[in-house]
């Protein structure tokens, strides 16, 4: 699947941010910081021609798997899934309300397109190994992508899984670490440093790549390089900014888990759209709808 032009991907990333922030603001609850930092990663995967999947057939056995191990960032994923047609995009606005499929953290079996129930940090990579092994057993060629938080990598289970995936030479598995340098209570470096991260993953037998996680082209290239790698899984350390795209959220960990007020939301939306709130909708409809029509359908 060919990738659309970079400008279009950048515009989609902005659209996803807008969806995520509006939903979080409507819920008055959620995690803006880690949703925004992952926008380009999710965009590259879902709109850059990386993930082979079929929104009308979420259980297609040959689909690529995507697991958001840092489950609290789910608003940005709902935005992508909604725009991709897994469910009506407006449903995102019911985020975190009772009886909604838009749960506070991803719930497998409830929300179309969600592959794993996460929210208890540390588990996604192991689940990804399970998919990768199943694919190997069945002779299927799908790939499995897992997005981890940097803080999340303090969990021992991540290192169990890293060891196992390295030894099992699971080259269909790709981990992307949203390296935004903050966790819940503050800076990762202050709380429990993960440096030198490259050496850690390398010593667990992974291919390690580093990219600017907001350069969607660079992310795409890394994801494609991972596809080409044989005999070992790839870890992409995506250097990101928590709260990216909204001036008062960037480098401000207050917005790790706090919703913007109505007023803050307006400022944020204006920033994301060069000051024109109306432009958001227009841009979104053009950018994403256009893409949806033009992308070739995978054959399930």
């Amino acid at each position: 699947m060919p990738s659309p032009p970079v400008e279009q991907l950048e515009s989609i990333a902005r659209t996803l941010r807008v969806h995520a922030l509006r939903a979080i603001a409507a819920a008055n609850s959620g995690h803006p910081g880690g949703s925004l930092s992952a926008a380009e990663i999710v965009t590259a995967l879902y709109f850059g021609g990386v993930l082979q999947h079929d929104p009308r057939n979420p259980d297609w056995p040959d689909r690529d798997r995507f697991i958001l191990s840092k489950g609290h960032g789910v608003p940005i994923l709902y935005a992508a899934l909604g725009e991709r047609g897994y469910f009506p995009v407006d449903e995102i606005m019911t985020l975190r309300q009772v009886n909604s499929r838009m749960q506070g953290h991803p719930v497998q079996g409830m929300t179309p397109g969600i592959e794993a129930s996460t929210g208890s940090l540390g588990q996604g990579l192991s689940i990804g190994i399970g998919h990768a092994i199943a694919g190997r057993l069945d002779g299927r060629h799908f790939r499995t992508y897992v997005v981890l938080g940097d803080g999340e990598c303090q969990e021992g289970q991540v290192w169990e899984a890293a060891m196992c995936a390295g030894n099992y030479e699971l080259d269909t598995l790709c981990a992307i670490v949203d390296w935004n340098r903050f966790q819940l209570d503050g800076a990762v470096e202050d709380i429990q440093s993960l440096e030198p991260m490259r050496e850690k993953f390398a010593s667990f037998k992974w291919n390690v790549l580093e990219v600017d996680g907001h350069d969607v082209q660079a992310v795409l290239e890394a994801l494609n390089a991972a596809k080409a790698e044989r005999g070992r899984p790839t870890c992409i350390i995506a250097h990101t900014v928590k709260g990216k795209g909204v001036s008062f959220m960037e480098h401000n960990n207050e917005f790790h888990g706090k919703a913007p007020t109505g007023e803050q939301l307006q400022v944020a939306l204006a920033q994301l759209n060069g000051g024109q709130e109306a432009g958001v909708r227009g841009g979104r409809r053009d950018g994403v709808r256009g893409l949806r029509e033009q992308s070739p359908k995978p054959s399930p």
């Binding site: 009886n99 749960q103 506070g104 129930s117 021992g156 709380i191």
Partner: protein, 319 residues
């Protein structure tokens, strides 16, 4: 015991009271240390942490390691209070609590915050609905779920005074005040918050206030109800339960927990050995909840004064 009509007065969240009490402990005893796993601002251990940075360890997202460290600290004479969300402290640290706290009966205090489904919007992954079952499966642990800020404050001090492992469940939302300070608080001794002779409601945590409201509505219908704040699930107050069984003959047990392994199981197993009686259970059953506003969830999943009233009416009929 509240003699006048109960009008819920909203107090602080029990997690907030926990933080303040911990700070006070820290002032009195320099062997008190606190550890958190990247939830210090949510569990309120940060109240202690910002005053005693040298005795506070926010070790990041490593619950198992946190418990192990506490085990070592306690073995070297410290009094570690460790905190996280209840779901993570117990579900990710269980084996470490078993080998490193329960079995050697060490002086480790565990504060599990965000107990129950009343934490609301974050949803199932963060809602602890099995912590009481797990904590009670740690021999020698005291397991305590205070109802309000008054009893939480007392419980934290009692935990520090007790030599041995203690589990405290903290709640996220502001909690109605059900006790007057100063409170005569002892682990393992229920507090009778209302007397009556036709039925006993046994509750803890947020459901004590709901039980009081239910009791008033039942009184209006001529059913005289006793309400026990059973803050301590282990060791259970056998005397209070036995007396209640003799004197009232029927029970409702209300808690924010799975049906299995919580207060309800303990009450049932206790009464079966003393004075068997019919019990109606108000709890989550054998399922998980979902995201939503706390009140929406408690209503949808049936852990309210309404649910208690319905349960009470059915069990009184059975008696």
């Amino acid at each position: 015991m509240l003699s006048t009509r109960y009008t819920p007065r909203i107090g602080r969240a029990t997690r907030e009271a926990y933080g303040d009490a911990l700070l006070e402990l820290g002032r009195k005893n320099r062997d008190v240390v606190a550890i958190d796993a990247d939830l210090a601002k949510s569990t309120f251990s940060w109240t202690f942490g910002k005053h005693f940075p040298e005795r506070f360890f926010n070790i990041g997202i490593q619950e198992a390691n946190m418990v192990g460290i506490a085990s070592g600290l306690a073995s070297s004479g410290k009094i570690p209070f460790i905190s996280s969300f209840a779901a993570f402290a117990l579900c990710k640290g269980f084996d470490q609590l078993r080998m490193g706290a329960a079995y050697p009966h060490l002086n480790v205090k565990v504060a599990g915050s965000h107990g129950g489904i009343s934490i609301g919007e974050d949803g199932v992954s963060q809602q602890s609905v099995e912590d009481v079952a797990l904590a009670c499966a740690l021999p020698g642990f005291i397991v305590c779920i205070p109802a309000d800020e008054v009893s939480m404050t007392a419980a934290v001090h009692a935990a520090a005074a007790h030599r041995g492992p203690v589990y405290l469940r903290l709640g996220r939302p502001k909690a109605a005040i059900v006790h007057d300070a100063p409170l005569d608080f002892v682990f393992g001794r229920a507090i009778t918050v209302r007397d009556g002779d036709a039925l006993t409601i046994v509750a803890n945590g947020l459901l004590v206030a709901q039980a009081l409201m239910a009791a008033e509505r039942l009184a209006d219908r001529g059913i005289s109800v006793r309400v026990l704040d059973m803050h301590t699930v282990k060791p259970i107050d056998v005397d209070a339960l036995t007396r209640a069984s003799r004197e009232t003959g029927a029970f409702v047990v209300a808690e924010e927990h799975l049906h299995h392994g919580g207060l309800g199981s303990v009450v049932a197993a206790t009464l079966a050995q003393t004075v068997p009686a019919p019990i109606a259970f108000v709890n989550l059953g054998d399922r998980y909840a979902e995201s939503g506003k706390p009140d929406d969830l408690l209503r949808k999943y049936g852990m309210t004064a309404d649910a208690i009233v319905t349960a009470a009416e059915s069990v009184v009929r059975q008696r």
